[in-house]
Symmetry: C2
Subunit: 397 residues, 2 copies
């Protein structure tokens, strides 16, 4: 018999599994080219050509015992230095190798941060809507997720509600900008106010509150939005990063955690992350791909590709009368469901072979998420289906 937690997880995840299977069945029945699957956050642009070139060069150049062997649980020293220097150049930080822990993606990074910081019953504040996996990560360490309801006008964090949720048990405030699922980028003002609130609450409760920034979409920003790095706003900030989106390497599981020296108990936090990498079973980030990303750290995915999709989808849907949040980052569009029951809306869309994710999966019912990391042709072809859907809900005639 499986454990109680896993039995629960299996019951809960069957909805998503069912949806995944439904998409595959639809593709089999109608042809993949006639199914408009906006459900998955899988990059649609290939890794920059330099990644594969680097892999081949590294394999030819390096001693295989070093290339495929154990290194420090934090990663290769030279790779960590390359990450530190890249951040220093771009964000005027002053990191060295010791501030960086290479991780098995951002999911691995968040889990070792949580393991290092959280005791059972500690509270992790998240801003709805948020990536559903955060719940599982907190549950791994018997911590409690505390949700802050959205500001439905802007989908910036609602800082008044946030202030009311901070308690003496608050250990982590988890933020994600550019945001999955809304595509919103937190403003400078939001971040400064959030930092001010956290500083006051740390004093009030005489606790350390860590701001954990989940940044897999850091480089995916559009228009005149600038890439930001959150350590400059608040002293107790720890950053989790992934190359999954910026270099289109989600299957390779490669990212890092950055811990500034000014973080409370920094030395133990860094040592704890290294121990957690080992004891949670990651041991270290995969070795060859560590070396590869270190050579390609200044490369970027094809942002123009996503930008084109973004405009195509946003403008198409707005024209049809749908209400959407204008996405400034990531590759997600957040749309208000014209049906107050968004699950019914998601079902209705399937008639036109359109697959979206219900807002309830992000703790925000009444909305749906569309991932536009797809081909522009798919977006264009999907529009007649969206038009039918808009008619059905009386948005257009």
């Amino acid at each position: 018999m499986v454990s109680k937690k896993i039995a629960q997880a299996l019951a809960g995840s069957s909805v998503i599994r069912a949806m995944f299977n439904e998409g595959k069945e639809m593709a089999a029945r109608y042809g993949a080219e006639n199914v408009y699957d906006f459900s998955l956050g899988n990059p649609a642009t290939p890794a920059p050509e330099s990644v594969n070139r680097s892999i081949k060069e590294i394999v030819d150049e390096m001693d295989p015992l070093e290339l495929h062997g154990y290194m420090s649980n934090s990663g290769y020293e030279d790779v960590r230095r390359a990450m530190a220097e890249n951040l220093n150049r771009r964000f005027q930080t002053s990191f060295d190798a010791h501030n960086i822990i290479m991780t098995v993606g951002a999911a691995g990074g968040l889990n070792i941060i949580f393991k290092t910081l959280l005791d059972p019953e500690d509270e992790v504040i998240v801003f709805a809507p948020y990536f559903g996996e955060y719940k599982s990560y907190a549950a791994n360490f018997d911590a409690r997720i505390v949700e802050v309801e959205p500001d439905f006008a802007s989908f910036q964090p609602d800082l008044e509600k946030f202030t009311g949720k901070i308690t003496a048990k608050t250990k982590i405030v988890l933020v994600n900008t550019p945001n999955n699922p809304t595509g919103v980028v937190y403003t400078e003002e939001t971040l400064q106010e959030m930092a001010e609130i956290l500083r006051k609450k740390e004093q009030e409760f005489k606790t350390d509150i860590y701001l954990v920034s989940d940044e897999p979409y850091r480089e995916l920003v559009y228009d005149d939005v600038k890439e930001i790095f959150l350590t400059k706003y608040y002293h107790n900030t720890i950053v989790g990063y992934s190359f999954s989106k910026s270099l289109s390497l989600p299957g390779e599981r490669i990212g890092y955690v950055a811990v500034p020296d000014e973080v409370a108990d920094a030395e133990n936090v860094i040592a704890g992350l290294e121990v957690s990498n080992r004891t949670l079973g990651f041991v270290n980030a995969p070795s060859l791909i560590q070396k590869a990303v270190s050579r390609c750290v200044d490369e970027k995915t094809d942002i123009a590709f996503y930008d084109k999709n973004r405009k195509l989808l946003y403008e198409g849907l707005i024209k049809l009368g749908f209400t959407c949040i204008y996405p400034q980052g990531a590759f997600y569009l957040w749309m208000k469901s014209p049906d107050k029951d968004e699950e019914r809306f998601v079902q209705a869309a399937k008639k036109y072979h359109i697959i979206m994710v219900k807002g309830a999966a992000f703790a925000c019912p009444g909305y749906v998420r569309l991932a536009y990391c797809v081909s522009p042709q798919m977006i264009e072809k999907s529009m007649s289906g969206f038009e039918e859907l808009a008619k059905e809900y009386g948005l257009v005639k």
Copy 2:
């Protein structure tokens, strides 16, 4: 402040960290060629040449979106099929892709098995001496480690003591053959008796007891010892495997878990392992290296190299009067400490620049472990130091 568990782990791991630093300091002071470090289980033979060739071919041949992209959390279907077919050919199993979950090494594999099966306070039986990390893995899920004392004559599991340790709370019996740290390979008789005991206890307690086989050293066997695969002895057997040793890829973090259909609740166990891979933050085993090992699954590391080292070290130490268990597998030699306090013996050896690991690290004081995954030259050069040590303890004149 870090979590209580991590604060404890940091206090506990400082001994090993101190030792690691001591080794590095010694190398700096006396020259690396004059330090005889037998402490680390890092493969000393490079990955077979076909691994690097496969990596380059795969990078040239495959669509980068598929090669570096997300796949099922269990791994690529074709890779899992290749693992299943390899096992079927060698061990007359009847696996298909659905029985295999690709994992982030054996450490990742054991953690998802533990997460899938263990509720808090469940018991995991281990046979001393055993790999110390098992304690951390059980602690991740608030399970209890129950140690069975060794049979000091053979270092085969002591099955009488084992029988007495099984309770209604026993959920997992964890075995490791070829064994780290003893180099012992469990006999056919041991495995059959163990299975018989487990079957009886399952009936007595009306519980499912899973035998979890940690098999990173499966292919490292010497003389006429045969490679074995444990699923044929007991119906409730789950296997965790790693390519770290067999293909010398410990840094790449690649392995798999095999779950036979006859395991109790097999369907949920398999689904639970897939969910655990995701929710513990592994997501999936690294993608490129999945493809690479799938092409090299019939390759093997240079066993003759380790075999030569094994004889060199064992015969050298026996000649000097030390008492050692004759290793039949893995790349470790298990030696009785001539000092009843083996920590003092480990300290004494440092005078001769010899670094070994104390038995207490494997829950078996009075012994030391020597890893002979080193160069034969190092073993030869170390012998004069061992001779001095033997004289010091009155083993030779």
